[in-house]
């Protein structure tokens, strides 16, 4: 087994990639990808800590179940929003979706 720190480094890297996408991408679907990646980074941490705590706990798993379910629901609503935005504006480029700006 690897030490716990390797899992944490991996999940930090995934978090970094997700934040990079959130900051620099303009396509709404890409942003959704980034959010999913960040959620997954958190899930990796939860499961890893559940495995490495002594004695191992099942709590981490349960939280991950809820996290995955909530992320799936969030993606559903997000995609519906993207669909509506595309229907109204003909684009999903977030920089062009600034009709509310005065």
């Amino acid at each position: 087994m690897e030490p716990l720190s390797s899992y944490i480094i991996l999940s930090s890297a995934l978090l970094g990639i997700g934040i990079y996408g959130l900051v620099s991408k303009r396509n709404a679907i890409r942003l959704l990808f980034s959010v999913e990646l960040i959620v997954n980074a958190a899930n990796i941490n939860l499961v890893a800590f559940a495995r490495y705590s002594n004695p191992p706990m099942i709590t981490g798993w349960n939280i991950v179940f809820f996290s995955i379910a909530a992320a799936a629901m969030e993606a559903t609503v997000g995609l519906a929003l993207i669909l509506v935005a595309f229907r109204l504006n003909g684009t999903i480029d977030l920089r062009k979706l600034n009709r509310l700006r005065g």
Binding site: F65, A69, A72, M73, T76
Partner: protein, 120 residues
Amino acid sequence: MVLDVWSLVAIFEILVFLVAFPLLLFGWLMGEKGRDPIRDAPFESGQTRLGEARQRYMMQYYPYLIMFIAFDVVAMFLFTWGLAFLTVSLTQNYLFLIFIVVLIAPLAYALYLSGKREFW
């Protein structure tokens, strides 16, 4: 040499890949190459091609897709309940019944919407 369950799965998948990929590669290497505008035209039962292929979307079935995502999650949670059903007390089993009952109204709404063609 005892391998654990998931490495056996990985070995099996690698085996399938090692058989399937050379088949594909072999066919690609042996086959004739080069493009021909008539032969490469998409199959349209002998008609000439009219417009983009990626045109007709079955938008009226979108509610089914959203229901699928909702009930996929519900089914996975219900499996954990099914596993514990024999060992959990009856009062705690009611909880999962509430979990199902809560979802009946949204399901009915989605079915109602999917039945109305004019919304999609």
